[in-house]
Symmetry: D2
């Protein structure tokens, strides 16, 4: 619970925005897996600030230092521990922050919960910076899943109401899906992507911010993954996805749109593909039925709220005096964190899927039907 996650592959995340370091322990990784450090670094880079014109220009050197668990970059079976040193740990000018909570941030609730002992600097443990250790763990998970033929693709589906085209999630789209990660603005449809970027520009010019929607698709999942009720793929994934700051909603397949359809419109018909596997003609369910994977791509969307840090005057309070106070959040902040959250969605999805893969059944009766997976 809290900053720990997973049953078989368990991660424990620590750190605050301005602590000496942020880090993660990953317990349960199998031995013998060679981590591709270059690929991991490239993956981490997609989350790093300064990647495009919408992200803060603060410099962060987010190179993970692996302190344990690897031997010449190969997993040993022992827990993997990695840390990222924070270079900006000066404590100045946070006294006001402790006293005047920023709207939309956890400043107030942390004060209420931790009674004034929380680390307020940069949002402390609630900072988006804590998604970096998630990306270390998730980046390794992505590499492991790739070995099993499982690929995860997240992209920006909408910014401030400007929606991109819906990808056609068939094997034919795989090259195009793989190409998204290379784009500075990771979107399926570059034309709409331009319009989305215009929205972000406009927000920045107004010292404001915008949010958006990230869509994630998982290809190559075996059918039969997930278990009924509280370990449905939906429940597991949402527990992970809400671990990412600023997520306000999650929806699988056609999601909230399903609530507006007739059953006859919403059900996905079954058929046998030429290779003898069962498929669904449509994938409105998003790749799960009863919380268990069908073998079709698992698809979900997450809503990301606009960055709460804005350079405009906002109404707040002064805790020490119990008075009203106005506040302008200073410093450089992303007018939209959606682009940087894209790899984070891939990371937490990968961790969830990897964990779920360990749930498979064993076969207990020789000579009888093998269990699903």
């Amino acid at each position: 619970m809290s900053s720990t996650f997973g049953t078989h592959i368990r991660i424990s995340v620590a750190g605050q925005s301005h602590a000496d370091a942020i880090g993660v322990i990953i317990d349960g990784l199998p031995a013998g897996f060679p981590v591709d450090m270059e690929a991991l670094s490239a993956f981490m880079g997609r989350r790093a600030p300064g990647q495009n014109r919408f992200s803060t220009t603060r410099k962060e050197a987010d190179a993970p230092e692996f302190l344990a668990g690897l031997l010449e970059n190969v997993t040993t079976g022992a827990p993997v521990m990695a840390v990222i040193r924070n270079t900006n740990t000066r404590s100045s000018d946070y006294d006001n922050l402790r006293d005047v909570p920023r709207p939309g941030h956890a400043d107030l609730t942390a004060e209420l919960k931790y009674g004034g002992f929380q680390d307020v600097r940069g949002g402390g443990h609630f900072s988006g910076r804590l998604t970096a250790p998630l990306c270390i763990a998730g980046g390794i998970a992505l590499q492991m899943l790739a070995e099993k033929g499982i690929e995860i693709f997240s992209h920006i589906r909408a910014i401030h109401g400007v929606e991109g085209e819906v990808p056609d999630y068939t094997p034919l789209s795989l090259p195009a899906l793989r190409a998204i990660a290379q784009k500075p603005f990771p979107v399926w449809d570059d034309g709409q992507g331009e319009k989305m970027q215009a929205e972000i520009d406009r927000a920045r010019q107004n010292a404001d911010s915008v949010g958006g929607i990230i869509e994630t698709a998982v290809f190559g999942l075996p059918a039969g993954l997930g278990t009924p009720m509280f370990s449905r793929m939906e429940g597991r994934l949402s527990a992970a996805v809400f671990g990412v700051p600023a997520v306000r909603g999650i929806a699988f397949g056609n999601g909230f749109d399903a609530a507006e359809l007739y059953g006859s419109e919403n059900n996905d018909s079954f058929y046998y593909d030429t290779d003898g596997t069962v498929k669904t003609r449509t994938n409105r369910c998003g790749g799960t039925l009863g919380g268990i994977t069908t073998g079709m791509p698992l698809v979900f969307r997450a809503a990301i709220k606009p960055t709460p840090s804005i350079g405009r005057e906002q109404e707040s309070i002064r805790l020490s005096k119990k008075t009203a106070e106005t506040l302008i959040v200073t410093g450089r902040h992303d007018p939209c964190i959606v682009p940087r959250a894209v790899p984070v969605m891939e990371a937490v999805t990968a961790l969830t899927v990897l964990d779920a893969l360990y749930d498979h059944d064993m076969n207990w009766k020789k000579g009888e039907k093998e269990n699903g997976k």
Copy 2:
């Protein structure tokens, strides 16, 4: 995991639609709480079929039998075990069901996962009937929360695109919110409720089905509940809510709408109320910041898909022959399960909140500031 849930208050659910019984063990309930059996029965009744003209007329006597854990209806501290006998357990006419999976149901994925050993009758362990044991546990949790001044209100927010008015979640609305549970069609705005019911009627007449959206509000939560990252209230609640069949999405506060607003529009301003507590002028965040409660009502919506069982011909497959097959789902089925899912939302929310209440911090330093809760 699987059909178990919770850290402090742990429930384990068992049963299939046509097994001898369905049931639940609730471990961790405190001793000395007198369960109001009449209130529990009334709560269970809201979920039972046959309550209104939209639910199946199959007769179910869903009276829970408490086999252990209570003494004269008072909790003893020992695990509470309750079962509901299934009266309809005949096995006839399910051979076809095993061979021709129903679109939109877990029939196919259960077959893929359990290799033909699953109980297909009535959906087996995937049946909506399994929400009855959730309501036993959740019904007790609701009573316990009421003792602490915490109330949970779910209502139908939309049916097939027809939306109800948004309640004004202030203490002034409490009488009206409390009255919803007494309505045969639990909606805030009866005028819109009539239109929603017309949608359901139309679906039924067409041998079709519709879905909708349920909104849930929790009043009286202490501020400071929840913990960062993976035990945020959002993550916990979504893990529970996706345990309910047919849920396709969940969104907190303004949810997916947040993705269409500017930060300056989406942030909730802080102010001091006349009683000295901090409040937010709006509650777009839905009562949490950083996953921790603000003390304002916690509000979320869940999307429910249209009942997959429809009396229309659908395209499926015959597993034994690996051929295409058409299917008409026979028997009586709710054209819309949203009304019956309303108390279930209250139940899983109550279980989650009760569990989270046990997470509070202890104070370790005399003479210093008390921790938040």
Copy 3:
């Protein structure tokens, strides 16, 4: 936690000695396993009272009723729920018990913990009767393990200081080990068994009781089971074994005797067996090194205290008056529960081993060395 156990195969136990029923939900069992009900009944019978002259002659009809999870006695993949009805649920003559706690029982601590709301009748949830549901779950686990070639043998190692001979845990002993379960007094060495029984007789004649030591050996475990630190086989097994009432100690291999040996005497030498597998010449470590199985039999002992219920006057207190009080425990009680605890040790061991078997690693790199298991 509490009355729940396991990570992959999770059991949740409920019931009190005099509740309507005791029962268990077993979540996570694979689908397709045919439970041999006759064998299960025979296994349950070994725990039942009245098996030999040392156990209480109270009549208990401990036939489990399977309410869910099985279809024609075959596991469906859904949670298995089984209950045993209590026939003796009358509430008379327990008022004194609530007021005058029995020494050596949980009466006092339950009163302190549950504040007078606990079910005192027959020890409530703390009763040894709660080992019956453990035997339902464990009995199924034993059958599943047998399919994988894993056998578990418990026997009485000592009664009141009279020790039996140490079995030679080699494959040659398997027929003799298998025969123990058929004995009314399950001991390796019948000669010493007679002397042990004489000890029990003497205790009974003196309205007193005796305890003893149960030794358990697991044959056929794969090498490489268990994980470092807190999921060592020792830690897992002890967490399960202390779930059985009256256990006061557990020791693996030569246990406390290891503390009296030189390292040169205590280490087990490695050698290659003729079949090419690595073995140890001795098995002082009890089949684990670093908490991970060696492939040799896993052996441990558990100390069982004498039955606290004795027909002799004991010094206690009267809670209502805060005065001293003497007490004679009436009713029929086993002068020694060790014989009936033997199958319970097999049950909890089986559940632990089955759970651990699900922990195995997956192989992530084609063309490279396969992981241990």
Copy 4:
């Protein structure tokens, strides 16, 4: 699981003997607790090598570096992350170790489990060195417990069969118990301590090793701690204690001796103390009944095997050639690790007790009896 522990206060341990670092993340610590770094350092020092003439003279600078979770040494509510850099990480001369497993160590089982990918240097993640991070976490827990009036005392109870006197665990003994931690050889009875040290000397002179028994007593526990069945204090503590390498057995109260007593000898009589609290005249049960604390000191013993690393020729195998091989373990090794394991026992006990304290019940009914704690 694995190298993670705890429900409310969760620790995750990482590191190998020769990795860059060993470390721990502690999740769930309450905010506002000022860690006394000097006291922590002194506590860590008791575990460090080179403290007395029996421990290895290898130099280890085990000063923990706190990377996150503290602000000016005060807990913030965020997870605490601490690491200890390993100074000796050179990889030479371990090739032989990988090929010729040391008897009594995890070398072979790690090879079987991790397929040659484990870090063999110094025992890798199985090294006793991993108890240092446990002491960081446990040292903080001890400080927190002290604030609640709970004190934990471990001492050497026996070395190689030489037993010390049994302490009289009454409040009168507290000064003497507190003094043990200051002794270079932490024993209750210095006279017997001299004889124990002579045993260690003799072993060292013979290039051999000895084990022993550590006894731990917890004072100041509230009555009513622990829960039935699988969260009994015994089960929780044993799961933690077996997390320490070389532990072979654990016994509560009179432990295995209980198996040799009559019930009339073993039961502890109740009486009212002058302060109105219930006590037991004796404490053979070791402070728990039914797994729940009585309020008397909780007492248990753990058996520690002799150090498997000995400077004598031992019989092993050469894995690469599948042949027999003899082995002499070189390097400096403690002839007895019992003295250094004493604070580790205190550490894991403190972590378990702290976690259990969070389990308390809430009171749900105003005007009614308060629950036990």
